[in-house]
Symmetry: C2
Subunit: 314 residues, 2 copies
Amino acid sequence: MSTVLVTMPALETHRSVLEEAASGATVIYASNPDDDLIAQAEVIVGNLPIGRLQNAPKLRLLQLNSAGVGDYALLLRDHPDLLLANASGAYGLAISEHMFGVMLGLMKRLFAYRDQQQSGAWNDLGSVQGVYGSNVLVIGLGDIGGEFARRCKAFGAHITGITRSKRECPDYCDKIATTDALDELLPGADIVFMSVPETKETIGLLSEARIAMLRKNAIVLNAGRGTAIDTDALTRALQSDRIGGAGLDVTDPEPLPSDHPLWQCPNCLITPHISGGYHLKETHDRIIQIAAYNIQAVMRGEPIRNRVRLERGY
Amino acid sequence: MSTVLVTMPALETHRSVLEEAASGATVIYASNPDDDLIAQAEVIVGNLPIGRLQNAPKLRLLQLNSAGVGDYALLLRDHPDLLLANASGAYGLAISEHMFGVMLGLMKRLFAYRDQQQSGAWNDLGSVQGVYGSNVLVIGLGDIGGEFARRCKAFGAHITGITRSKRECPDYCDKIATTDALDELLPGADIVFMSVPETKETIGLLSEARIAMLRKNAIVLNAGRGTAIDTDALTRALQSDRIGGAGLDVTDPEPLPSDHPLWQCPNCLITPHISGGYHLKETHDRIIQIAAYNIQAVMRGEPIRNRVRLERGY
């Protein structure tokens, strides 16, 4: 292996980590590399636009900086030997902390207190909900759903994990079920946390009919892809106080148009798809650690971490 | 024992619990009892105004519904045999969840996202802080401080507990120190959580000089009594972005006047002393459980829980 091309941002400390892992190889940093650089690269670290990868005959490892894979998985159809890796494991910390804050903010009416703060009103807004003893439905038990579930469990919630295919109940869940059981489980949930990739099965997963099954106090949280929820139905449920609230770091469409009625729902907190990214330094560090591990694994002919194959569950 | 007087609110389920504990005695519910009722009471459950207790010759147990004791402790000077109990243990859950939400809201800029939501702005506000790996200084390790510390530890923070008098390090702290060490510890803290009763030692505990020692990203949280912080100095530190933020459920004075500049600090979240109370049903249930336990203990001549004596640490 001779050339590692890094297209994602890397701090000074990150460069040391990558260069140590790639010992012997040339490591080149370029956010927008030219075709010659791409043609030389045996490893690419970063989500280089997929069209630019046509001209990468030497590519052995594509290490994405995202947890989601999107269309990159399609590369494997024509190049079954390509090692494709995502950055799952890097984002769970940042996104779960963010979404936990959004959940508590909604449960404790903190955003409503914030709204009245500008008028200097010392005004009690009434009863609140608690994480302790609540029923949390975590749809999608990847890194993000798992880390969120762990934190809820530490606060004393009862966790039901939902996965696409059957698996054993992990230690941070009290119960596990597959998507088939969703209609049965939604009416009992205080919190519905969603973190599923966008696939044909997940588009519209939280449909109008399923939103109608939710408790009056239920809070919906989405950290995966906006399309997993029927946005219009959710908007109507929030406008009519049919459910307790929603916390969305992803929306459909995205960006959410400035005149979309969801922005004006007082029981909804919207953040612009920022719970991940490099907003928390630890996330950036973890992506680099995964990349370094995989560069070294490829050099040694060992198995990589986070390998993506054509068919994935959630 | 013949009469138990309950002046705090009690739901139907609570009445059953109290009446079962007081078996044989008459339980009377009155939020504003007349002097005759008070004169008969051997147990009073609730924070009856202290002046009204002059005429309670039969009183053996005064069970407060608050964690703080305030001037009630002074009753013990003239009535050393009176059993005085607070409701410590009932509030830790509700207050720690609330304050954890306030902390995450500040760390993740959720209140700033809320502020821009009304304009429908899909606008990234930049880097955030994380609980994981942060240094949390918890001043006052009662029920509230302890429960807050536990939750921070579950999120991967390093916890230093501060108590007035020396004690062993509890399992939810990494380190413990006494108030003398505060000046040494404040410069290393990312989060300063305060939950101390109002005593002459705690008034102005977080002084102007100590606020000046804090890191630029430090977040100050107060769930105890507003007087523990020099409010003017805190306001200036927030106005000039000298510190990262503050989350206050208690202020000095209280209520905070509507024209107080603290309301207008964007990096401050103020809630009107509502993190406790009966806002979370579990708190109410727990107060009743403590009261029931103590009513039964008094009837059986056994030691009560949560007994308050004249001198208390924090």
